[in-house]
């Protein structure tokens, strides 16, 4: 154990968020009253403090805790994506839970604990830490998914738990095989080992390990064919948790996916990129095609989240630094637009009635202009129409793919993205061009200051990234350079 005090610097943001989570838990236990919505702001304060500690990590890579955790630009960039996700989720949830009469502190504590897990995934440079972080995140998310204790919510939780456990098994088995092949699970050591021993690229054990790791990560990012849980879980879980899962879990899983595959397995890029090529295509296509057939907005967004995982996988297939930085920008953009969209979905519902069917949206664009505008912005962004963040993200990823000569994948990706416009615009068309029924299902919005703030923040983020993305893109490019 060669521990240095300086290592704590790498862990400082995690410690802060974890401490906040425990504080929230204690506050829930000791503070009187049934309504603990204000604890969300305590959580946000914690995240802000962690965010203040993060910029110091942005720079050349430093490894700590015997090479288990990295402090580098890559991790720091992901931390910031996760902070954005965390803050927006807490804001959205605060409003939502009050309306659903479920204002308990545990919820916020669980969100923060999941956030710690996600952050560890982004910083981990050791496969065991990746696994532990993934479990930390997942267990909190399982509990969150079943938080409402309604039949659907619990069903979602249980399905996610069972299948998640199943997939974790594959991941762990994969790690074991990699250990068997390389004798180490430290990511940079694995990379060096593959480099030193080219024969390893045809070792069945190493390749099977890579395959099983693909299954484990593929499950978490909802890649086809490991996606089957996604629609049921996303639809059943509380909407705020769905937003959290779709953005936070995806970002965290992709951060680990990136570091493990692009760094540790860079010696076998030829082998695994072919597999991911197929997965990316399947994921985009199936996600988009099935989303077209949905009549429920929440479920549609679940399938759309599968499709977006497909676009992101394109970046992974390419595997160049350019592609990695494109994925990071994409994930940030996705965090803004997806949480924003879910915030709008929440606002359309009311106590005991989620109103997520597309028919409920008829005519609300004119009855609630601000909400309509926000939803339209998020839908345009998801569809990848400029000047929104979604366009920039897709553009960067496809540009990176073209640079490396992945023409077919790019063409198929762009075709997919064109098909996706159909179901995103259908929401807008329903909102603006379908007359609202005489007795509309939505007779008012549940808008609190926090949800409104979250929507505005997300909208500003989407437009900022869409209109002046230069700074963020540059930051992501620098961040990747520090990944090593």
């Amino acid at each position: 154990m060669n521990f240095q005090m300086a290592d704590l610097q790498l862990l400082a943001p995690h410690i802060v968020v974890l401490a906040t989570a425990l504080l929230v838990l204690l506050a829930e236990a000791f503070c009187k009253g049934e309504r603990k919505g204000y604890l969300a702001y305590l959580g946000i304060a914690g995240i802000v403090v962690a965010a203040l500690l993060t910029p110091r990590l942005f720079g050349p890579q430093r490894l700590g805790f015997s090479g288990m955790l990295a402090g580098d630009g890559f991790a720091a960039f992901f931390y910031f994506i996760l902070y954005a996700v965390g803050i927006l989720t807490l804001l959205v949830s605060q409003n939502y839970l009050r309306d659903e009469r479920f204002e308990h502190g545990e919820y916020y504590a669980l969100v923060l604990l999941a956030l710690v897990g996600m952050m560890l995934m982004a910083g981990a440079t050791h496969l065991m830490v990746v696994f532990l972080a993934l479990e930390t995140m997942s267990i909190a998310i399982y509990a969150l998914a079943g938080y409402f204790r309604t039949e659907r919510s619990v069903e979602a939780s249980l399905k996610y738990f069972i299948l998640g456990g199943f997939a974790s098994g594959f991941l762990l088995y994969g790690i074991a095989l990699i250990y068997g092949a390389c004798g180490t699970t430290q990511i940079y050591d694995v990379m060096a080992y593959f480099k030193a021993l080219p024969a390893l690229t045809s070792s069945p054990m190493a390749l099977a390990g890579i395959g099983l790791l693909t299954v484990g990560f593929g499950f978490k990012v909802a890649a086809v064919p490991f996606h089957a849980w996604t629609p049921d879980v996303y639809q059943g879980a509380p909407t705020s948790v769905t937003a959290f899962m779709a953005t936070g879990v995806k970002a965290a899983a992709f951060s680990a996916f990136l570091r493990v595959f692009v760094v540790a397995f860079q010696g076998t890029h030829v082998e695994w990129s072919g597999v991911l090529w197929v997965l990316a295509l399947l994921t985009m296509t199936l996600g988009n095609l099935t989303a077209i057939a949905q009549t429920d907005v929440k479920r549609m967004l679940a399938y759309s989240s599968i499709a977006h995982a497909g676009y992101l996988l394109v970046g992974l297939v390419v595997g160049t630094p350019e592609a990695s930085s494109a994925m990071m920008v994409y994930l940030l953009a996705y965090a803004f637009m997806n949480i924003g969209a879910f915030a709008c979905v929440i606002m359309v519902g009311r106590y005991g009635q989620e109103n997520t069917s597309l028919d409920a949206y008829a005519g609300i664009g004119f009855r609630f202009p601000a909400l309509g505008l926000a939803m339209a912005v998020f839908m345009f962004s998801m569809a990848g129409i400029p000047p929104t963040a979604g366009f920039i993200g897709k553009f960067l990823i496809f540009k990176a793919a073209v640079h490396e000569g992945y023409y077919w994948l790019t063409i198929l990706g762009v075709l997919n993205s064109a098909a996706s416009v159909y179901y995103y615009l259908r929401v807008i068309i329903t909102m603006y061009f379908k007359p609202s029924p005489d007795e509309p299902a939505v007779d008012g919005l549940r808008v609190g200051p926090s949800a409104a703030l979250a929507t505005v923040l997300a909208g500003v983020g989407v437009l900022y990234l869409g209109i002046i993305p230069g700074g963020i893109i540059k930051l992501a490019e620098q961040a990747v350079r520090f990944m090593g």
């Binding site: 249980l158 399905k159 069972i162 299948l163 199943f166 997939a167 594959f170 045809s202 070792s203 069945p204 390749l207 099977a208 890579i210 395959g211 099983l212 693909t214 299954v215 593929g218 499950f219 064919p225 490991f226 089957a228 849980w229 629609p231 049921d232 082998e271 597999v275 199936l286 095609l289 099935t290 989303a291 077209i292 057939a293 949905q294 540009k399 098909a419 159909y422 002046i468 993305p469 230069g470 700074g471 893109i473 540059k474």
Partner: protein, 680 residues
């Protein structure tokens, strides 16, 4: 001080945001204080920037401020930055100065309008866009401003959108502008293609090396840019929107159609003077179109009876002069006329607004007359501005217009000179026709019914300021031939001095006697100035070239003044002494009169050819191509995709066992694949 130039567009933007978001709830006093205050602050900063720039030696009078990196892709970055040099400095002073006066005027003019806050929001937004346009340090920022003023003009022209005709006028302006913008865009793409950047200074610095003088590329670039300019600055063939645009409130006409937006095209050509100077063909096109427009619009103005329509065509005609100047390579003269025109035309528009206001929304001059007694302030200011536009010395219009005509003549553009010269007298004629019909003679309305009144102080004070500027505004550019120092030329020379590149342009034009003299004068002016940055006297001394001046210059000067006086006399004779004469003439030359009165039927021709033609084409595309072919394909694809999606949906059984099975199967396939890879 120079570091603060970002504030110049910033203040109006803040004003627009404040009034746009909260204006409806704020009292009117706050609304117009915010609006006028913001533009006034911009003016102060502009003035400060002017003095700061003036303090520098001429060669260093360029200041670039990059606010942030806007777009970065690959090795290309486009910054959002501002460029302050003598040219943009003149522009910001005109925009903020005249803009401020118009804001103040609007306080009185719009005081009873229910859309008070909306009006000032648009006005501030417009100023923000215009300042972005002139301050931008690259084509893209300029284009943002370019589109911004287009949008704002649409909003302002259609400000009273309850009236369908006015809303349609707004749309017409927007659509015609879009056609021009398309040209501008293509020009911009070409520039990016050739230079790999859109930065003004880089493009201009690299142009001589990267492009062949008179080559196809530079000609294409400049012609496309010029198409953009014809849209924005209302030149043939895209001028049609401007007369209709008089539907907007009067101060809007003054702001957009006199002082700011329509000058954007002229400014843009000035900004790209290096490129234009390299493309003699484009130069000839610009000069010819400009001169034709000047005469063409002038003739239409003769027959119009709507006071604003006359001014509108007059604006088109005056813009023609500016383009003539640009086309003959006399960039400084063009910008000079731009500035003086901003003063007197703003004064005229505001004066006409005052008349309309006083006459209770009457715009037909045939129902006016004798207003001299009722509205003394309006009358005097209007008269001063009219004399200025007619080109009578020593008012502003004389110097600037005369310089253009002289440069056209001496540059060998005799044909363009002739057109411009012909238009000069016509200008004097129709402007004085306007004055005589409006302010002199008998009242052709019932004073008992229409209580004519002078406008409030907030409207007359800006009028007087502008009238004053119309008098003295030209004195900064008195040509050397009249013993002036032509400071304006010295000021702009670092940006617009064509000496380095005119060789070719002039080589393309037939050589002339006057040419040599002018060239020498140019060189000595430049040299004199470089030696003595502040000493105007020294510059005059160094020039020492009064004897170089071609006597022709004086002859032409005399001719044009005499011709203008003749125009005034004819107007006096026809509209005051023999008021029934014009009717007789119109009856005699009925065909010609009808032609002019109906504006050469250009609107009708456009309607028949472009609008109806487009509609017919659109109907064909819609009814056959779209509905049958495209929709067939799209719906077919959609049907297939949807049924596929519906089929895929069935895979989602909701059973955990099935889901786990898919995961397992996926894993097996993956591992099997890798096993195969490993085996081979």
């Amino acid at each position: 001080m120079l570091d603060l130039i970002w504030l110049i567009p910033f203040f109006p933007m803040v004003g627009a945001i404040v009034n746009g978001l909260f204006g409806r709830r704020l009292p009117k006093g706050v609304v117009h204080t915010v609006a006028c205050g913001s533009i006034f602050l911009s003016f102060l900063v502009s003035a400060g920037a002017f003095f700061a720039l003036k303090a520098l030696p001429p060669a260093e009078r360029v200041f670039e401020q990059v606010l942030f990196e806007w777009i970065a892709f690959g090795s290309t970055t486009i910054n959002l930055g501002y460029l302050l040099d003598p040219l943009s400095c003149v522009m910001i002073l005109v925009v903020t100065g005249v803009g401020f006066l118009i804001h103040v005027y609007s306080v009185g003019y719009m005081s009873h309008d229910p859309g008070y806050a909306r009006y000032f929001t648009y006005l501030n937004l417009f100023c923000f866009a215009m300042l972005t346009l002139v301050l931008g340090n690259n084509f893209l920022v300029m284009f943002v401003g370019w589109e911004g003023v287009g949008l704002c003009s649409y909003l302002l022209i259609g400000f009273w959108f309850e009236d369908a005709a006015k809303a349609a006028a707004g749309m017409k302006a927007f659509i015609v502008n879009r056609i021009g913008d398309f040209g501008f865009l293509i020009g911009m793409f070409l520039i990016f293609w050739v230079f790999g950047t859109l930065d003004f200074r880089t493009v201009m610095a690299q142009a001589p090396g990267a492009l062949v003088v008179g080559g196809g590329i530079v000609t294409a670039i400049t012609l496309f840019l010029f198409v953009g300019a014809t849209g924005k600055s209302a030149q043939i063939p895209l001028y049609v929107w401007l007369p209709d645009a008089m539907a907007g409130p009067n101060p809007v006409s003054a702001l957009i159609h006199a002082a700011t937006m329509v000058t954007a095209g002229v400014y843009m050509i000035g900004r790209c003077n290096v490129l234009f100077s390299m493309a003699p063909v484009s130069m000839t096109v610009v000069a010819t179109i400009g001169a034709l427009t000047a005469l063409f619009a002038g003739t239409i103005a003769i027959t119009q009876n709507d006071i604003k329509k006359v001014l509108a065509y007059s604006t088109v005609s005056q813009l023609g002069y500016m383009f003539t100047a640009m086309g003959v390579g006399a960039y400084v003269a063009g910008i000079f006329h731009l500035m003086t025109h901003a003063f007197f035309k703003a004064c005229l528009f505001l004066g006409s607004g005052s008349v309309i206001h006083g006459m209770h929304e009457e715009q037909d001059m045939r129902k006016m007359g004798g207003l001299r007694k009722h509205m003394p302030h309006t009358y005097w200011t209007f008269l001063i501005a009219t004399i200025a536009i007619a080109g009578i010395p020593p008012l502003a219009g004389f110097f600037s217009k005369d310089e253009i005509l002289w440069k056209a003549w001496s540059g060998g553009y005799k044909f363009q000179w002739f057109l411009g010269f012909a238009a000069a007298g016509i200008t004097a004629f129709y402007m004085f026709r306007l004055v005589f019909m409006t302010f002199f003679g008998k009242e052709r309305f019932d004073p008992e019914e229409v209580h004519v009144h002078e406008s409030p102080r907030s409207m007359t004070v800006p009028l007087w300021v502008l009238a004053g500027l119309s008098v003295v505004g030209g004195w900064v550019g008195i040509p050397a031939a009249l013993g002036g120092a032509n400071n304006f030329h010295h000021w702009l020379a670092p940006v617009l001095d064509p000496a380095a590149v005119t060789e070719t342009t002039h080589a393309a034009a037939p050589d002339l006697d006057g040419l040599l003299g002018v060239r020498t004068a140019y060189a000595s002016e430049g040299a004199g100035h470089a030696e003595a940055p502040e000493g105007h006297g020294a510059a005059v001394g160094a020039e020492g070239g009064a004897e170089h001046h071609d006597p022709t210059e004086y002859v032409l000067m005399f001719l044009s003044v005499a011709y203008a006086l003749l125009g005034i006399l004819v107007a006096y004779f026809a509209y005051l002494l023999k008021p029934d004469l014009p009717g007789k003439v119109a009856a005699k030359a009925k065909g010609l009169y009808e032609l002019l009165y109906n504006k050469y039927f250009v609107d009708e021709i456009y309607q028949a050819v472009f609008v109806e033609g487009t509609l017919a084409l659109a109907t064909f595309f819609w009814a056959f191509w779209d509905v049958v072919v495209i929709d067939g394909i799209v719906n077919g694809t959609g049907y297939v995709v949807r049924s596929l999606g519906g089929g895929l949906r069935l895979l989602q059984t909701g059973k955990v066992q099935a889901y786990a099975m898919t995961v397992l199967l996926g894993a097996v396939v993956l591992v099997a694949y890798y096993a195969v890879v490993a085996a081979f």
